[in-house]
């Protein structure tokens, strides 16, 4: 997966580059609008992360130039929480936007959503260790034993299982499970995770649902030593 980051703020550009590289992306960075426009047009990328406020030419004109030639997915980063910026970005062909300050996990989730869109059909059966999930029948088993999950608990499990090994932020989970697309500081997600855990992990080994403090939750098999407290 190849991604271009167009961002002039050095610290932001650096951590994005490192973070995405560690997520397995091949990352190019352009540090102003002119470079960004040039690279976006000359090379092939799977997705472009584009800051709105750039020296040289601003993000909108980069987007404009890009859309005349290519349909590469673009996520805009807007510093101002201004609706007109967002509306303008989406109208001129951006596929998604994030308002600064945004969380890195959020960005990763959006990037995956954008690149997944083109990947097509997903499997209907998921399997992690002894956990087995039938997405169509909305049923789950562990160790051959049926798990008695409510609708929301199943939705939470499915969301995590689909992105096995990825950390999902609370915001992303709230969006996927409850279709809540606003920041909310409720502990709904925590409670839901607690409930799911009591059915998924408490009776079985190994533990699959892990908390990453300050970041979110991940469903994966870990060796017990490296586990968080």
């Amino acid at each position: 997966m190849k991604v271009l980051i167009v961002e002039d703020e050095p610290k932001t550009a650096d951590y994005l580059e490192r973070g995405l590289r560690e997520q397995g992306y091949v990352v190019d960075v352009a540090r102003d609008g002119l470079d960004g426009k040039h690279m976006a047009l000359e090379y092939e990328y799977d997705v472009i992360v584009l800051d709105v406020m750039l020296p040289g030419t601003d993000g909108f004109s980069v987007l404009h130039a890009l859309r005349e030639r290519r349909q590469t997915p673009v996520i805009m980063l807007t510093a101002r929480d201004r609706v007109d910026d967002r509306v303008r970005g989406l109208r001129e062909g951006a596929d998604d936007y994030l308002v600064k300050p945004f969380s890195f996990l959020e960005l990763v989730a959006r990037l995956q959503a954008l690149t997944r869109r083109s990947r097509g059909q997903e499997a209907m059966q998921l399997r992690i260790a002894d956990l087995q999930i039938d997405l169509l029948a909305r049923k789950a088993w562990r160790n051959g034993q049926r798990l008695d999950l409510t609708a929301k608990e199943f939705a939470l499990l499915a969301a995590l299982a689909r992105r096995k090994g990825e950390i999902l932020s609370k915001t992303t989970i709230a969006e996927l499970v409850w279709d809540v697309n606003f920041d909310s500081d409720t502990n709904v997600v925590e409670v839901a995770v607690k409930r799911l855990r009591s059915k998924l992990d408490d009776p079985f080994k190994p533990t699959l649902l892990h908390t990453v403090r300050g970041m979110g939750y991940v469903l994966e098999v870990r060796d017990e030593q490296s586990e968080d407290a």
């Binding site: 929480d81 300050p101 409850w178 606003f182 920041d183 500081d185 409720t186 990453v212 403090r213 300050g214």
Partner: protein
């Protein structure tokens, strides 16, 4: 080019007085002309009556010579006067020869006029028949007088009137300009005062007690605008202080924690722990900043941009569904009463309702029931969340919706509650053209908002 009000007024005065004087002058000119003409006619008739007996008394050819001498004398005495006697009998004639045209102009009866060579004003005439007597046939006696004095009088008068009109208009302009300047003086004073206003003296106002009624209204509106500005300015200052205060706690934690962690060699686990803890504080900062940005949008007067027509009860039930686990944990039930259709931005609306429900569940005792009322009112839809519990003291009610305001001030800077929940409810209401309200009586607290229908 923009003319000053004084100059404009002066010009208007000038035009007005010019028109008035011009009309007056035309009328006076007409009057004088008529009078002069009447005077001329009287003189002509008087002279005709004076000359007629001379012809009457002499009725044969011998005496006609006498008539001629008499007329000649008369004319040489008064060179303004001309005389003609016309008749079919060539023996009874008098006066210079006339061209056909002149004869035609003079006519045979009554008044006429003719241009004579050597005169620059026309000759006014009066003609009438003198009946036949003896040898003399009926003759036509014409008296003419030179109108030059009349014409000259009229001309002098006209010149005088024109001069008067022009000078009068100019005078009016000058006077008008002066009067306007005097009238404008309070305005000058006012703008001088307005120049003296500055952010440093926000409470200063324009003086209105000595102003004319027209201006004091303007000054009052201006003062009203100043008051609103002052309030906004003060809110902004308080706001900055609030934000700084709220951010100080997590920032302090972050700096302190990081310094402590770095002051010794630490194991990977300890370092990880520190980073996780930092991340929590940072997430909190981010949440606060995002909320502040959201509130700023409402403060700027932004309206909810993506509205759709939906059932309010249904939107409320979405929010209830989201918080379902929380209600179960807290052992409370939620009921929705009433419904209405309204055009709202659903994500904003759900956020507001979520905040209200969250507050209610935090303050309701175990086993309680929370009721959400949806009420259709004229022009607005009212959404309120009611819960039992210890209630809110009266003095807090009005400030509940202020940002960072918490009833229990010891909770300020707390990890869980930022004190922004109700401020966001108010912002959402504002963005939908509505307001907020809160009441707390005999153990039941009702807090809610309206959206414009």
């Amino acid at each position: 080019m923009k003319l000053s009000i004084s100059k404009r007024l002066a010009a208007m005065f000038a035009v007005a007085s010019f028109v008035m004087l011009a009309v007056l002058s035309v009328a006076m000119h007409g009057l004088l002309k008529r009078e002069l003409e009447r005077h001329q006619s009287n003189e002509l008739q008087a002279r005709w009556t004076m000359y007629k007996p001379i012809i009457m008394r002499n009725d044969d050819v011998e005496h006609w010579e006498y008539v001629r001498t008499k007329f000649d004398n008369s004319i040489s005495e008064n060179n303004r006067v001309s005389l003609w006697v016309q008749s079919n009998d060539s023996r009874f004639l008098y006066g210079s020869s006339l061209t056909d045209e002149q004869r035609h102009m003079i006519g045979t009866r009554g008044f006429g006029q003719a241009m004579l060579p050597g005169h620059d004003a026309p000759l006014k005439t009066y003609s009438a028949e003198v009946e036949a007597r003896g040898e003399r046939p009926a003759v036509l006696l014409t008296v003419g007088i030179d109108s030059k004095p009349f014409v000259e009088t009229l001309r002098a008068f006209t010149v005088g009137l024109i001069a008067l009109t022009v000078v009068g208009a100019l005078g009016a302009a000058g006077l008008g300009y002066y009067i306007a300047r005097v009238g404008m003086r309070p305005l000058d004073r006012l703008s001088g005062e307005a120049r003296g206003l500055s952010p440093g003296h926000l409470s200063r106002r324009l003086q209105t007690d000595t102003l004319a009624p027209e201006l004091s209204e303007l000054a009052d509106s201006f003062n009203g605008a100043l008051s609103r500005l002052e309030t906004a300015y003060q809110q902004l200052e308080a706001f900055n202080a609030d934000v700084a205060h709220e951010l100080r706690t997590p920032l302090g934690n972050l700096i302190g924690q990081t310094q402590v962690t770095l002051s010794r060699e630490r194991s990977v686990t300890e370092l990880k722990e520190a980073l996780h803890s930092n991340l929590e504080d940072l997430e909190r900062l981010r949440a606060i900043v995002n909320d502040m940005l959201f509130l700023a949008r409402a403060d700027r007067g932004e309206r909810a941009p993506n509205r759709v027509e939906v059932s309010i009860a249904q939107e409320v039930s979405h929010a209830v569904e989201y918080l379902e686990f929380i209600f179960e944990e807290a052992g409370v039930k939620v009921r929705i009463e009433g419904d209405a259709q309204a055009s709202i931005e659903t994500s904003l609306f759900r956020r507001a309702v979520t905040n209200l429900l969250q507050n209610a569940v935090q303050h309701a005792p175990r086993g309680a029931e929370i009721v959400v009322f949806v009420l259709q009112q004229p022009g607005a839809i009212r959404v309120s969340v009611q819960n039992t519990g210890s209630g809110i003291a009266r003095e807090h009610l009005s400030r509940l919706f202020d940002r960072f305001y918490r009833v229990d001030s010891s909770r300020s800077g707390s990890r869980e509650n930022h004190g922004l929940g109700l401020a966001i409810v108010r912002a959402v209401a504002t963005m939908h053209g509505g307001t907020v309200f809160a009441e707390s009586e005999s153990g039941a607290t009702t807090i809610g908002f309206t959206v414009a229908a």
